[in-house]
């Protein structure tokens, strides 16, 4: 601890590193808490909550841990490399823009950098990971002015970008999960390939995958979405800690369930049954970890319900009627774009009597 302190103090003093002040400051703040105390004025409280943004973001990372560990188990040690590339490139973009803007480095990229790789297919080439996260952080966030001002979820922007640019790599071949013994903890990657995820099999041949298989991650899919039991546990943990608001996942998941139930009753060969819909694709990961991103979802309570419902509706529609098999990513991004509008309309409605 003392060593770290000495090291950082040394960095502060080096003239040649002056430009990197945001980085040094971020390091310093990462290791050591603040020494500031509350203002002494009538208008500020004497005590403040112990939560800060670092802990807030870190809670999301903890909640993602079951999925990350399961991903390594299922798809081999290469997953670590994918995450590493994502952090490296994402972190660099963050650092460079912080230096450029002379602002402090914000902790938001800790989450973006971890969620992004979890959305990718296990066979993704590493350079593509780098391109995706670069695009996501740079276009999705920094251009808007950094954390707190972005309209779209940066991880999803990155993912959308590579889906559109490299459709081949992202939709045709999927790795079969490893299993048995220590599986992926000892192997670099899974070599067996398949062309179908559960959603694809339903669309092409109406085969339904077993729910328990879906829950335990025994079917193919993106890196972090398949061990759904872990996603659910992590998600519930997030809701319990209040880091994610419960309204969005509840609205999202229940509207997917109800809509696909209704659809399945009337058009059983078009709509997949509700439970299968709930437990397939990236729905759970999206509902718990991406739709709940506070920056890009509405802040009003009613707005959160509408947002969740909109995501659910779009997801079911895209899955059923479009050329794409999965609609979670598109629906969240589309609803992200609508959030400011939703909030503004609700404000206008709520305060309509007071307008004069």
């Amino acid at each position: 601890m003392k060593l770290v302190k000495k090291f950082i103090e040394g960095l502060y003093l080096k003239k040649s590193l002056k430009r990197f002040k945001p980085v040094i400051k971020a390091l310093d703040e990462f290791f050591f808490g603040t020494d500031k105390v509350t203002y002494i004025s009538l208008r500020s409280p004497h005590i403040l909550d112990n939560i800060d943004i670092k802990r807030y973001m870190f809670t999301v990372i903890i909640a993602l841990m079951p999925s990350v560990l399961a991903a390594i188990y299922l798809y081999g040690l290469r997953v670590i490399l994918v995450i590493f590339v994502s952090y490296l490139v994402g972190g660099m973009v963050e650092v460079i823009s912080a230096i450029f803007r002379k602002k402090e480095i914000q902790e938001g990229f800790l989450v973006t950098g971890l969620i992004f790789p979890l959305l990718l297919p296990p066979t993704i080439p590493l350079w593509m990971v780098g391109v995706g996260i670069f695009f996501g952080v740079f276009i999705g966030k920094e251009i808007f002015g950094g954390t707190g001002r972005n309209i779209f979820n940066p991880a999803l922007v990155g993912r959308l970008f590579i889906t559109i640019s490299f459709p081949q790599a992202l939709t045709t071949s999927w790795a079969e999960p490893l299993r048995g013994g220590l599986a992926g903890f000892l192997r670099y990657k899974s070599d067996a390939l398949t062309s179908a995820t559960p959603l694809i099999s339903f669309k092409s041949g109406h085969t339904l995958t077993n729910i328990s298989e879906l829950l335990m991650g025994l079917s193919s899919g993106s890196i972090g979405e398949t061990f759904r039991l872990g996603v659910i546990l992590g998600g519930l943990f997030l809701l319990y800690t209040r880091v994610a608001n419960w309204r969005i996942p509840l609205a999202y998941l229940s509207s997917v369930f109800i809509l696909s139930f209704l659809g399945n009753v009337f058009f059983p060969d078009k709509f997949a049954p509700p439970l299968f819909q709930l437990f397939s694709g990236g729905l759970l990961l999206g509902a718990f970890f991406m739709a709940t991103d506070p920056v890009t979802s509405p802040f009003s309570e009613l707005g959160k319900w509408i947002f969740g419902f909109g995501c659910g509706l779009l997801t079911v529609l895209i899955r059923t009627f479009s050329g794409y098999v999965e609609g979670v990513m598109f629906s969240i991004i589309i609803m992200n774009g609508f959030s400011p509008l939703i909030d503004q309309s609700i404000l206008n409605f709520r305060y309509r009597y007071l307008k004069r």
Binding site: G33, P45, D49, N50, I51, V243
Partner: protein, 494 residues
């Protein structure tokens, strides 16, 4: 008749180290007291004594019958040393310095009677006024002596509360222990006698089940009394929250409850009323609680009004660390830093909070058995350990991430981060008042919960002031909806 009620928003603070024990100690008579001539509700009064005069404990030494005010007493037997202006909590106030004799006797008010039923309402009002109790709490107790901004006949509702929604509170069980419970109920009946037309509401902390039951049992014969058990969520004890929660009526934010015919008193004030009417005791001492880890002992003290703070705290304050002393509330209270200043009627608890300027290694990874947070990201949420508090801000300022905590806790349903965004970008226009900026109670809860450490409440207050300079003021959005009483007097006092 017991009703459970609560409000939306707010935050329940629970499980803190340093809560005062149910123990009451009497402080010895100080050598010298300083009596400020403005204490509690009302204006400053004129001194009736001059240096060199002998005074007795309970003697009225300051009084002004022309303006809204209440008399002030000497709390000790002794001799007036000097009369001088002091700077008392940012106000220039005249104070009377008295050299005390170590005798504890005090002279009762004239005409009191333990059998208060025989006294006429006029006499009761006079006793309450002369005892100084009429100046307690936010709007005082209306009497025919101009002790509040409205007259007794204008009181439509009387709310008495002992909720304790602050982090540290006077112990209700101690205040109402033994004979005091009976005195408290008699006090309520006395007040009912001078406001015969008023509905009386008694709001208690719902966690004190036994006490609530006992009081309901004793008062079951009073059909004019409504009893409520409320969740002790901060800021339930505020007038602005009690009125909508109990009566379902909107509050004229920024004005006083008295403006809409409501008088709100806390437990200790009612006990003072009883003492004034039945024992003839003027308001010369207060019970205060010493809270927080900064005190070596957390207990209650009975202190003569005017005692310098130094003499109250020095024996109890821990010296090994730097402490911040805060009056009444950790969220909105004033810091006490000049220890030569005296105690006044408005004190009820004093909190000693450790100043913490230490940097903590990897603080965001700590489990936090003793950390307080609105979020449940600390172990203390799960294990319910006793929590500790200090003045550190626990994190670096960051931009708002719209997490919505401030909006969830705001008791008046304002959206603080929205207003903050407007004010930060210098957008000062009518929209701010449309979004309710003038409803803010300054409870500071939004600033407390913000993970980005933004000074929300402060910015909102600044925004109000800037809005007023462009000619859009509180009156426009509050006044048209209410028929306010005693408005001129209220302005005069503010």
């Amino acid at each position: 008749m017991l009703k459970y009620k609560t409000f939306k928003g707010g935050y329940r603070f629970r499980n803190f180290l340093g809560q005062p024990r149910e123990q009451l100690k009497e402080l010895p008579i100080p050598q010298r007291v300083i009596i400020p001539l403005k204490q509690g509700f009302g204006g400053e009064v004129k001194p009736l004594v001059s240096p060199g005069d002998k005074v007795y404990a309970g003697q009225i030494i300051g009084r002004d019958d022309e303006n809204v005010s209440s008399p002030v007493h000497s709390s000790v037997n002794g001799e007036v040393l000097k009369i001088e202006k002091i700077n008392y909590f940012k106000q220039e106030i005249t104070a009377i310095f008295i050299e005390a004799e170590p005798t504890a006797e005090w002279r009762p008010l004239e005409g009191y009677s333990a059998d208060w039923g025989k006294l006429s309402p006029e006499k009761i009002e006079e006793l309450i006024y002369l005892s100084g109790s009429a100046s307690l709490d936010k709007e005082g107790i209306p009497t025919r002596f101009r002790s509040s901004i409205i007259s007794p006949s204008e009181v439509e509702n009387l709310i008495i509360h002992g909720i304790g929604s602050e982090i540290y509170n006077l112990s209700l069980r101690l205040l109402l222990s033994g004979k005091n419970l009976f005195h408290f109920i008699e006090g309520i009946r006395i007040l009912k006698k001078i406001f015969p037309q008023a509905e009386v509401h008694l709001a208690l902390n719902k966690n004190f089940k036994k006490l609530v039951e006992e009081i309901s049992k004793i008062t079951s014969g009073f059909d004019w009394l409504k009893i409520y058990a409320l969740e002790p969520k901060y800021p339930q004890g505020y007038d602005e929250m009690l009125v909508p929660t109990l009566l379902g009526r909107p509050f004229p934010y920024g004005y006083s409850a008295a403006n809409i015919g409501i008088v709100i008193l806390n437990t200790q004030a009612v006990l003072h009323v009883y003492e004034a009417v039945c024992e003839g005791k003027p308001l010369i001492e207060r019970t205060i609680a010493l809270c927080g880890e900064g005190f070596r002992e957390n207990l209650h003290l009975k202190v003569k009004i005017g005692t310098p703070l130094k003499e109250i705290f020095s024996p109890y304050l821990r010296k090994d660390k730097e402490m911040r002393l805060v009056l009444n509330s950790l969220l909105t209270g004033i810091r006490l830093n000049i220890f030569s200043l005296p105690l006044s009627r408005t004190f009820s608890q004093v909190i000693a909070l450790p100043e913490n300027r230490e940097r903590e290694f990897l603080s965001f990874l700590r489990l936090g058995m003793r950390s307080e947070s609105y979020t449940r990201t600390f172990l203390s949420a799960l294990l319910r350990g006793k929590k500790k508090l200090n003045t550190n801000i626990h994190g670096e300022p960051r931009p708002c991430i719209s997490c919505g905590y401030c909006q969830e806790v705001c008791p008046v349903r304002i959206i603080p981060h929205l207003l903050y965004r407007f004010i930060e970008r210098n957008i000062i226009d009518e929209r701010l008042s449309k979004y309710g900026i003038f409803n803010c109670l300054e409870c500071n809860l939004c600033s407390f919960v913000c993970p980005s450490k933004l000074p929300l409440a402060k910015t909102i207050k600044d925004g109000q002031e800037r809005l007023i300079t462009i000619g859009c003021d509180r009156a426009k959005c509050i006044l048209p909806y209410f028929d306010l009483k005693g408005l001129e007097e209220y302005r005069g006092i503010k």
